[in-house]
């Protein structure tokens, strides 16, 4: 009897409101920004990539930034690999192949194959957020699954670029694509 009452109460509570769930875009990209920063920490570039000890690590956004300032906030005052982090957004990227990390937003899906083709062979860690990006040979894909941000790593492509992805990062990847 009491149990039935409790169950009834539970049902009423659960249905009392019309559900209105949606991804929180701003939060999603804040989390993705934090991931980008972590990728810069957990990926090793081959010797000779940096010309000097003090050369900053360059992160570029190829296209309109979906981060709304959050990537700047994450990078501000932080370092990776003992290097200062420098962010270049759309207009500031003159030579994409000089970037160490290049983020390709989903809004560039139409041109993603060409963008990745241009970056190929320059030791750039490419990070994207769409299936098109992964299909075109992007290295790390960030995506939403079960309300959380996940990532896949294409390790064949990172090997080709001479990037060493730490085992810690690989362990946490949802999928590691090896072929």
């Amino acid at each position: 009897m009491t149990l039935r009452l409790l169950m009834a109460l539970a049902m009423v509570m659960a249905f009392a409101r019309v559900p209105q769930a949606r991804a929180n875009d701003a939060l999603e990209h804040q989390v993705k920004a934090a991931f980008l920063y972590n990728f810069a920490k957990f990926v090793g570039w081959s010797q000779g990539t940096f010309e000097s000890e003090t050369e900053p690590l360059r992160l570029c956004i190829i296209g309109d930034s979906p981060f709304e300032g959050s990537l700047e906030a994450v990078l501000k005052g932080r370092t990776a690999q003992g290097r200062e982090l420098k962010l270049a957004t759309a207009g500031e990227v003159t030579d994409p192949s000089s970037c160490h990390v290049a983020f390709v937003p989903a809004n560039r899906d139409a041109q993603v194959a060409q963008i990745l083709q241009d970056l190929r062979g320059n030791g750039v860690l490419t990070v994207g957020e769409s299936d098109a990006f992964a299909a075109a040979g992007g290295i790390i894909k960030l995506y939403l699954d079960d309300k959380k941000v996940r990532f896949d790593v294409n390790i064949r492509r990172s090997d080709e670029e001479g990037l060493k992805i730490s085992s810690q990062l690989l362990k946490l990847a949802r999928r590691v694509i090896k072929k």
Binding site: M7, M11, A14, P19, N24, F42, K148, V149
Partner: protein, 687 residues
């Protein structure tokens, strides 16, 4: 002991020296007081980032490092790389948790003192299902297992969790959480064989379940060898166990439904002696068989209502059978729970819930153990509410709440707590809590009679011409044990590479269980006629504990990490007038561990643990047993042969042939056995 402390101290210093250089560079950078959400996110580890729900605005709920409680998390990676083959052994690498083997099958696990095989101040949950037994308010650890590969994480909360978790969460809560079926797609098969581990076979298969769901099926069997009897020879404590289960997760957008079930069956053995009413009044040592079986079925439904509001309904049925030396115990538990959390007055958060639990049991008594009445059904009703305030632009948050329950043993019980968390500066968090918690009586404390020994006629302690039975018995008037706890903690991320977590506590216990000499008399049944001296349980014990726990995490390079833990505990028990129970010396004063997790060039994982536990000096009813301190180490090497095949080799307890970890206690007499050095190899196929 001193050497061990010196060694750990030296390792800590070396590690500190290593990370302090980059730390300065970071410290000089200006602290951005107007820290935005994104800035906070930058401080999170990858594991933490993976746990943030971007659908929910409530970031606080998701972040363990922002809890106003002493929390430590073992991730799947931590468990795998510890080399542990049981959940209990993995818990050895959590600061503040005491794990000691009485022998190979009896585990004593506790937090903040009072360790015993029947330790009763710890709540253990597996996927939201309480696995503590209301029979003695402790845990039958020999049945707690699952596929270790499918555990997502183990969250350990030290200190009272009474407000949210309910009675029995007096000194801590261990929350074992398995992965969603979605994250366990594909096949995993593993084979583990060694000198103590005679074979562990585990298989899991994941599959899609319609359009919205995923499911996994798993099975596991293991067979373990006995430990070393003092003086040599097998201690007859073999253990084998089989289990099979499933978990299905259905995702309908805002509604998530989980259904899981399991059946297990096994036998754990100990060397035992039983009391007899006729000469020689005690049997020869024999292999006592704990024959157990059980299973459960659980459903949980969570609904996301948006804007940080959530509801959860959970129900489960759990059945367990256990038979040992003629005493059989059968129990069915039904539990239903509802929880609701929502933001109120802007950024504040309200969590409330209701719970009903029915426990129905039956037993068959032996000469040694009996319950009166043999069968009993009890009801437990619980409600709780907790409000979290956010003050000073989120720099200060406070939580107040209480739990109110009604149980059939002591009636109403309340468990309030107040907590705060304060961020005085970037990278520093200070938290504190004052809580009251109770440990409600167990079925045994109400209804049991244990004929623990028979003293032959003519012995100094038995002047009668007939045998004298020493009988321990429960009392219906037995009250809840009470705790008032004060905690203070400090967490800091000095930089990307070094984080530190320090907690201090002072606990004051009242109405602790005591054993007192009771009535005596003559009994005709069972024959032959015998005298009886009762030992009654009472609430005459008082105790205070003071202690500290330290956890440190050091990232030396991207592929090499160290984790350190240190625990100090001072326990002062006042059981004046009662029989000495030895509880005050069954927990070590100092414990420490250092674990190293490294990936060598070429992809070989090389991990080791060093574990130190101070000496124990138990004195139980005048019989002293001493357990020496020990320092031991474990090593693990693992290598991925192909994309889907991993091999690992592990050596456990390497420093000695065998070592003891625990002494005798009132409820677990007989001597502890030597836990032996062991090796095993493991092959895991994942595809």
């Amino acid at each position: 002991m001193n050497k061990a402390i010196e060694f750990l101290g030296a390792s800590l210093l070396c590690s500190l020296a290593f990370v302090w250089i980059p730390a300065n560079a970071v410290a000089q950078e200006e602290a951005d007081l107007d820290s935005s959400m994104a800035d906070v996110l930058g401080d999170l580890s990858l594991e933490e980032l993976l746990n943030i729900e971007v659908y929910s605005v409530s970031k606080k709920k998701q972040k363990l490092s922002e809890s106003a409680a002493a929390i430590y998390v073992l991730t799947q990676d931590d468990i795998e790389r510890s080399g542990a083959t049981t959940i209990m052994d993995a818990l050895r690498l959590v600061p503040g948790v005491e794990v000691a083997n009485v022998n190979n099958t009896l585990y004593s696990v506790s937090v903040r003192g009072f360790n015993d095989r029947f330790a009763n101040k710890l709540l253990v949950l597996i996927d939201g299902r309480s696995v503590y037994t209301p029979l003695f308010a402790g845990v039958y650890w020999d049945v707690q297992d699952t596929m270790l590969e499918d555990i997502d994480r183990i969250e350990v909360v030290r200190g009272p969790g009474g407000t949210i978790w309910g009675a029995n969460a007096v000194n801590g809560v261990i929350n074992i959480i398995t992965k969603s079926a979605k994250d366990t797609q594909g096949t995993v098969a593993s084979l583990l064989i060694g000198d103590e581990e005679k074979g562990t076979y585990a298989v899991r298969q994941g599959a899609k379940l319609g359009e919205h769901g995923h499911v996994r099926l798993y099975g596991k069997y293991f067979d373990r060898d006995s430990s070393e009897r003092p003086g040599g020879g097998s201690a007859m404590d073999q253990w084998r166990n089989g289990r099979a289960g499933f978990r299905a997760d259905l995702d309908y957008g805002d509604d998530d439904v989980t259904v899981q079930g399991e059946y297990y069956n096994g036998k754990s053995h100990i060397e035992s002696q039983s009391a007899l009413l006729v000469p020689p009044y005690q049997t020869a040592p024999f292999r006592s068989v704990n024959d157990y079986a059980g299973g459960h079925l659980l459903t949980r439904w969570t609904r996301d209502l948006g804007d940080g509001e959530q509801t959860e309904v959970q129900m489960y049925v759990d059945h367990t059978d256990r038979q040992a030396d003629g005493f059989n115990y059968y129990r069915t538990t039904f539990d239903a729970e509802f929880q609701h959390n929502r933001p109120v007055f802007g950024d504040h958060q309200l969590i409330w819930g209701l719970n009903y639990r029915m426990v129905s049991d039956d037993s068959r008594s032996s000469f040694g153990f009996s319950l009166t009445p043999a069968a009993r059904r009890t009801n437990l009703f619980t409600g709780f509410a907790q409000l979290e305030f956010s003050l000073l632009d989120d720099a200060l948050r406070a939580t107040v709440g209480t739990k109110l329950e009604h149980n059939d043993y002591t009636g109403f019980e309340y468990q309030p707590s107040g907590r705060f968390i304060f961020k005085p500066a970037e990278k520093h968090t200070i938290w504190g809590a004052v809580s009251r918690a109770v440990r409600t009586p167990s079925r045994a404390e109400d209804d049991i009679r244990i004929n623990s020994a028979v003293v032959p006629p003519g012995f100094p302690s038995n002047p009668n011409p007939i045998p004298l039975v020493l009988a321990l018995r429960g009392a219906r008037g037995y009250q809840s044990e009470e705790l008032l706890s004060f905690e203070l903690g400090w967490r800091t991320d000095i930089n990307d590479r070094f984080s530190l977590d320090v907690t201090a506590f002072h606990n004051s216990y009242n109405q602790l269980r005591s054993l007192n000499f009771g009535a005596n008399g003559v009994e005709l049944d069972p024959a032959p006629t015998h005298a009886v001296q009762f030992v009654d349980i009472g609430n005459d014990g008082e105790a205070t504990t003071t202690g500290a726990e330290v956890a440190a995490d050091l990232v030396l390079t991207e592929d090499w990490r160290l984790r350190l833990g240190y625990t100090f505990l001072s326990l002062d028990v006042d059981d004046t007038g009662a029989i000495e129970t030895g509880i005050d010396s069954a927990s070590a004063q100092n414990r420490a561990f250092l674990r190293s997790l490294a990936t060598l060039p070429g992809g070989v994982e090389f991990d080791f643990n060093l574990r130190y536990v101070d000496s124990l000096a138990t004195e139980t009813a005048g019989v002293a047993t001493r357990v020496d301190s020990y320092l031991t180490g474990d090593v693990r090497l693992a290598y991925e042969l192909t994309d889907s095949l991993e091999v690992s080799v592990v050596g456990l307890n390497l420093f000695e042939d065998d070592h003891k970890e625990f002494g005798a206690s009132v409820f677990a007499p007989g001597s502890a056995t030597g836990i032996e050095r062991s090796f095993y190899g493991k092959i895991t196929l994942k595809r």
